[in-house]
């Protein structure tokens, strides 16, 4: 079993993006991005190959879009400035500053669910990510494939409020039974 | 006013027996703590009095002045009666035990039976206390105690019956007298009656451990499983009395083993018999009981029943048949 084969099989089930990463640099071999709908299919592939589940977690990308836009704007501005500088250097009249393009509303920030799988026999840690909008964080459960994912998903639900559709028992695991807050969201205030 | 001397004698014995039971319980706790400590290469109680000898005393004072909680939901009558039901029969059993040639409160012809009869009340006390405290751990523990006692009463009684066949009497005093004159007369070495006598002694000892709920058979108070078992809801002196009853039962068990198998107050080499020898043998057995407690892990419940039904009962029956055959032949 090698990582390349897994990569092929995963792309066959429709993963959005797969990149082989440098293990020494990152600590995992395959970085797979799937849509929530393809998640179960992708995990089934790994299950058939004899992977074991290491962890499920989430990442809250609040502010990511704003940052991206800011970066893009900065880039545009830098380019403009570079152009202007070049123009000035060339002794030309700097072109009038272009009006900043009116941009629409920011796209919604995402919550990301991250699944780590590993193999007992060979070294191939596969990371599967799936993104969902923050306002409707829903992703199908994989606890019917890996019963061990049950707790991991409950924990992720505790921390991020990600709803694992079809999960048999989605009640708080680490937080008190009646907890209705999700502490690892970036906008969480106790 | 005229008072019958017989009454004074009775009272004296009663006081003596109760004091003996209480002191024994207290100092067995001390012995247990010290012995456990030294097995584990610690010192054990040391700061209270010389060698920590006042430790049981302060424990007693503390337990007596501790608040007695009768938790909500328990059956108050049964809850309070249970410790007494454990303690009183134990004290009554002391009455028939001959500690020395003349040191016996009541020399019953059927002393052996009396001790078994009183011992059986003990279980009832535990059961009532456990059920009365309305605690799941306690109830599980009580259920265990009963099955355990039933399972171990059989090999114990069969062994004792074997012994009674050899001695021909149930009078404890007579049984000891028959074993006088050197350790080769003791029942444990009475190989001419049955070559399995040492094994019978082992069986009796194991059954005694099980009957008194001592490790490795301490199912009733299995700390790591059932918190404190039947005593979970007991506080202060209620707990203290249970504890005293338990230790009194150990003393009774050890003295029975001494009387039935080790020649009672007889000196091993036929020198001067006396109560001292009885106490030495008895305390050695108790030392062994404690020693076992701090050496072995606990058996499981079914392991314990297996031991009884698959090993002890067949062997003790075999011994019974062997003994009767030998008695008939010789």
């Amino acid at each position: 079993m090698n990582c390349a084969a897994i990569k092929q099989k995963l792309s066959a089930v429709g993963a959005e993006a797969i990149s082989e990463t440098e293990y020494d640099r990152k600590g995992f071999a395959l970085d797979v991005q799937v849509a929530p709908e393809q998640l179960v299919a992708a995990v089934s592939v790994l299950d058939a190959e004899g992977f074991f589940i290491e962890a499920v977690t989430g990442v809250d990308w609040l502010g990511e879009q704003a940052a991206l836009r800011k970066e893009a704007e900065a880039k545009v501005a830098a380019e403009a400035k570079a152009k202007a500088d070049a123009a000035t250097a060339a002794g030309e009249e700097p072109p009038p500053a272009e009006p900043v393009a009116e941009q629409g509303e920011l796209p919604e920030d995402a919550l990301e669910a991250v699944y780590d799988f590993n193999h007992y026999e060979s070294l191939c840690r596969v990371t599967i990510r799936t993104r969902m909008p923050r306002s409707k964080p829903e992703v199908p459960t994989i606890s019917q494939i890996y019963p061990g994912a049950n707790w991991h998903e409950r924990e992720t639900h505790d921390f991020f409020g990600i709803k694992f559709v079809g999960h048999p028992y989605l009640v708080p695991l680490l937080l008190p039974e009646d907890a209705d807050f999700h502490p690892l969201l970036k906008d969480f205030r106790p | 006013m005229y008072v019958d001397p017989e009454i004074i004698r009775l009272l004296a014995f009663l006081v003596g027996v109760i004091a003996f039971a209480a002191l024994n319980a207290a100092y067995l706790v001390w012995l247990e703590r010290k012995e456990a400590a030294h097995i584990q290469r610690r010192i054990g109680p040391k700061e209270v009095g010389p060698f920590g000898l006042f430790q049981p005393l302060v424990d007693g004072i503390k337990l007596m002045t501790k608040q007695l909680i009768v938790p909500a939901g328990v059956d108050p009558v049964l809850f309070k009666i249970a410790p007494i039901l454990v303690m009183v029969p134990a004290i009554m059993s002391f009455v028939t035990i001959p500690f020395g040639e003349t040191l016996v409160a009541r020399n019953l012809d059927i002393g052996l039976l009396a001790i078994f009869a009183f011992a059986s009340v003990n279980v009832l006390g535990l059961l009532l206390g456990a059920w009365g405290s309305r605690n799941k751990y306690a109830v599980i523990s009580a259920a265990r105690v009963v099955s355990q006692n039933v399972a171990y009463e059989i090999p114990m009684l069969v062994t004792v019956v074997t012994l009674v066949m050899i001695t021909g009497t149930m009078n404890l005093h007579t049984i000891v007298l028959q074993q006088q004159g050197g350790f080769w007369h003791w029942n444990i070495f009475n190989l001419s009656a049955s070559p399995l006598m040492p094994v019978a002694f082992l069986i009796f000892f194991v059954c005694m451990l099980a009957e008194t709920n001592r490790a490795p058979f301490d199912m009733a108070e299995a700390e790591s499983e059932l918190v404190a078992g039947a005593f979970t809801e007991y506080s202060g002196m209620g707990f203290g009395v249970f504890f005293m009853g338990e230790y009194a039962n150990i003393v009774i068990g050890a003295s029975m083993a001494t009387i039935l198998f080790l020649g009672g107050w007889d000196c091993p080499l036929g020198l001067f018999p006396g109560v001292l020898w009885f106490l030495i043998k008895m305390y050695f057995l108790i030392f062994t009981v404690i020693w076992i407690r701090w050496t072995f892990p606990r058996t499981t419940f079914y392991g314990l029943l297996n031991l009884s039904w698959k090993i002890l009962i067949p062997i003790s029956f075999f011994n019974l048949i062997l003994t009767s055959a030998m008695l008939k032949v010789f």
Binding site: - | I39, W294, T295, F296
Partner: protein, 146 residues
């Protein structure tokens, strides 16, 4: 039948072996260090709560009130304050409070201290009836030592 008997005998033997081991330990000397009377030697690297170091030359603290320890501390248990005084280079320490009840003894503060003005004390047996007793005013402690 043979297996049955063998198991009984080997099992019983294993029990006696166990008893033999424990009784041997029973007669061996104890390993207890009787604490209030005897004490274990503390290793030089033992980490107690932190303490200010006295400058051997001046007799004062070495602290230059840079605040690095305060910044390094993960649990915000150090408060350092200083003031500018005339005729003295740098700041002078006015307050050094350690809330020991929040400390995790990680040693990041000691590492971050460039002038080596703080060090670990060897107080390993603190216990008391008041919580407030463990919010140390280290400056006072240093002065009390002098």
């Amino acid at each position: 039948m043979i297996d049955y008997l063998r198991e009984i005998i080997s099992g019983t033997w294993s029990l006696f072996v166990g008893l033999g081991i424990t009784i041997r330990y029973f007669f061996q000397p104890v390993v207890t260090v009787q604490y209030p009377y005897q004490t274990l030697p503390m290793t030089p690297r033992f980490r107690g709560h932190i303490e200010l170091v006295k400058d051997e030359e001046t007799g004062e603290t070495k602290c230059i009130v840079c605040g690095m320890c305060q910044k390094a501390c993960p649990s915000n248990c150090i408060t350092v304050n200083g003031e500018k005084r005339e005729g003295v280079k740098g700041k002078v320490l006015t307050e050094y409070t350690l809330d020991f009840t929040k400390c995790s003894l990680c040693g990041l503060c000691v590492e971050s201290c460039t002038p080596k003005a703080i060090t670990f004390s060897k107080d390993y047996n603190l216990a008391g009836v008041k919580k407030e007793a463990y919010i140390f005013d280290l400056k006072k402690r240093l002065e009390a030592k002098n």
